[in-house]
């Protein structure tokens, strides 16, 4: 990357006449970016498409997702119902489209709290060290001792059904990896010369943490977050599948798969369709994660 930009800069200096201006330069710049990191590009496109589907659900979905039509229950794919209807006569395609709103919104929202808490705690603990570090490390050990789904399911059960419980359960479980990643990086940076210099300059600890250390560690939790969203989508769908997720009749991919499983031998599309939606969304996010890791040279 560094070499390429310097060549480009030299080119600019030597031949000002051939400098592309305005839109063309931006277009060629974008083209080069795509070729440099096709993974990231493909991922961003898939993720943007799924988000577009979620946003445009009222326009894209031909039917109301919770409108029942019992006379047309379990009708196979047809011109009006592209993927058929479920056991209550609801249009499967429309439900998959509308479910993207719920699954994506809950998944993206449930990344925020663990990201913020984990990163903040990791920064402080990595910087301060000592007894506080030891206590937080033990707390993390306790959380990690529980198999992920066991603790999430037990917490959702105890907190009662609903989206709020899902947020809290996911937050309690998944702040740990963010904390561990950021803590490790902070500990390395703490003894680096530029931090020592800031300390000699008698900057406040908060200023050193926020202005000198945080900007240098933040890319790692961001890359982790891109794969964490996938884990959250899977967790939400799994909870829905087990009957502990977003309460019905709201369309949700996992719950739809569970419903469809009963009519397997006749209408396999009911269970397969929503799963494809999960896989496509997750695949796009995984590509973004790989692409970001490559762009920022983070080893995973």
């Amino acid at each position: 990357m560094g070499v390429r930009t310097s060549i480009a800069a030299r080119g600019k200096l030597l031949s000002p006449g051939r400098r592309r201006s305005g839109a063309a330069a931006r277009f060629w710049g974008a083209g080069r970016a795509v070729r440099a990191n096709p993974t990231l590009f493909a991922g961003v496109i898939i993720v943007c498409l799924t988000i577009a589907v979620a946003v445009l659900a009222p326009i894209l979905a031909p039917f109301d997702p919770i409108d029942q039509d019992l006379t047309h229950a379990l009708a196979g794919p047809s011109g009006s119902h592209w993927l058929g209807t479920d056991s209550l006569g609801r249009d499967v395609f429309s439900r998959i489209v509308w479910a993207s709103r719920i699954d994506l919104a809950v998944a993206f929202a449930s990344v925020v709290a663990p990201f913020v808490v984990g990163t903040a705690v990791g920064l402080v603990v990595g910087y301060v060290g000592g007894r506080l570090d030891a206590i937080v490390a033990r707390m993390a050990d306790v959380v990690v001792a529980f198999p992920v789904y066991v603790l999430i399911i037990a917490l959702v059960f105890a907190l009662g059904p609903g989206v709020a419980s899902i947020f809290i359960a996911i937050a309690i479980v998944s702040w740990v990896p963010y904390m561990r990643i950021v803590r490790g990086e902070t500990r390395i940076l703490r003894s680096r010369a530029f931090v020592e210099a800031a300390r000699v300059g008698e900057f406040s600890h908060i200023r050193i943490l926020l202005r000198h250390i945080a900007p240098n560690v933040i890319s790692q939790p961001i890359v982790y977050a891109s794969s964490d969203v996938i884990r959250d989508i899977l967790a939400i769908a799994t909870l829905g599948y087990l009957g502990l997720g977003v309460p019905p009749p709201a369309p949700e991919w996992g719950a739809m798969i569970a419903d469809g499983q009963e009519y397997f031998s006749t209408d396999w599309m009911l269970a397969v369709g929503p799963g494809v939606a999960v896989v496509v969304t997750g695949f796009g996010l995984a590509l973004v994660g790989d692409g970001l890791a490559r762009a920022w040279r983070i080893d995973r």
Binding site: A145, P147, V150, V279
Partner: protein, 309 residues
């Protein structure tokens, strides 16, 4: 060695303490009154009071925790509210299918991962390698329960060669009914394992002792297996151990897909019956199971790594 394991066990005590605290608190983070939640809105005051007394909920919370702990020390996990039997006997009755599934699926996952990683590492930067390296990206996005349903659809419903669910009555039918669940879990685990195993193998293949073994004129296959794979097995066992929490979580889900009568299924059934002691007991057992595996992994790594001894 014994002293080493003893030291590790003592280091686990504070974590064990934390685990019991988390499991104990499950009842107390429930919004409102757990007795009311269990008995429903029509319960009389007397029955509520009686249940609270029976659960010890009328005692101060620290005392309740001590009572709970002293029960645990005696191996008493409480009484099931729904079945009326002891939680310990319920768990004992469901433990075997879960352990069997864990064993089969981790063996399958480890076997497939080693094969794939060997292929990828011996032909780096070829089409095969790129394909194998793309597996994690796709695999990461596939919900295990969905993979399970697809497997049922193909092998159970369409071809009808394997059972669609249940556990069977004899060892042969047990094995048959565990094939599809194990495959579904392996699909979730293999992506994680292949990525790390390939990296470990490539690193091992770059070592001087591998170059020396090649220079000695050993067959490439024996260099690969006796030298590279053996040294790559330390990080591999480590990764398998770290993944175990994930693996156990997957068994919980997959048991419910295939109606396997294991701990995971018991837990979900208990949740729908609001059977608090059973849910607590299973969460505790799962956590302790995971801790044991962590410990075994560390010990195994030290045994494999002759430098540490």
């Amino acid at each position: 060695m014994v002293r080493y394991i003893g030291r590790r066990l003592i280091a686990l005590l504070p974590i064990l303490f934390g685990i019991t605290l988390v499991v104990f608190m499950l009842v107390h983070i429930t919004p409102g009154d757990p007795a009311r939640t269990y008995l429903g809105i029509h319960a009389t005051d007397e029955s509520l009071k009686a249940l609270r007394h029976a659960w010890g909920l009328d005692q101060p919370i620290p005392l309740q925790y001590l009572i709970y702990l002293s029960g645990l020390v005696r191996g008493d996990l409480g009484q099931s509210l729904y079945y009326g039997t002891s939680v310990r006997s319920l768990i004992a009755g469901s433990l075997v299918p879960t352990l069997f599934l864990l064993l089969l699926s981790s063996l399958l996952a480890a076997f497939v991962s080693v094969i794939l990683a060997l292929i990828a590492a011996t032909k780096p930067e070829t089409l095969v390698d790129h394909t194998i390296r793309a597996i994690p990206t796709v695999g990461l996005a596939m919900p295990t329960f969905w993979v399970g349903t697809i497997l049922i659809l193909i092998f159970g419903v369409h071809f009808g060669i394997l059972p669609v669910g249940g556990y069977g009555t004899d060892i042969k039918s047990h094995l048959e009914s565990l094939i599809l669940p194990s495959v579904a879990i392996a699909v979730a685990i293999v992506p994680v394992l292949v990525r790390s195993l390939r990296a470990a193998l490539l690193e091992a293949l770059n070592m001087d002792y591998v170059a020396f073994a090649r220079a000695k004129g050993l067959r490439p296959s024996s260099v690969l297996i006796r030298y590279a794979l053996r040294n790559a097995s330390i990080p591999a066992v480590n990764i398998l151990g770290v993944t175990i929490g994930f693996l156990v979580g997957q068994t919980l889900v997959i048991e419910n897909v295939f109606a396997l009568p294991g701990l995971g299924r018991l837990m979900i059934q208990a949740i729908f019956k609001r059977d608090f002691p059973v849910v607590q007991g299973i969460a505790l057992v799962f956590a302790i199971l995971t801790m044991i595996v962590f410990l075994l992994t560390d010990v195994a790594c030290d045994l494999l790594d002759t430098r540490a001894a």
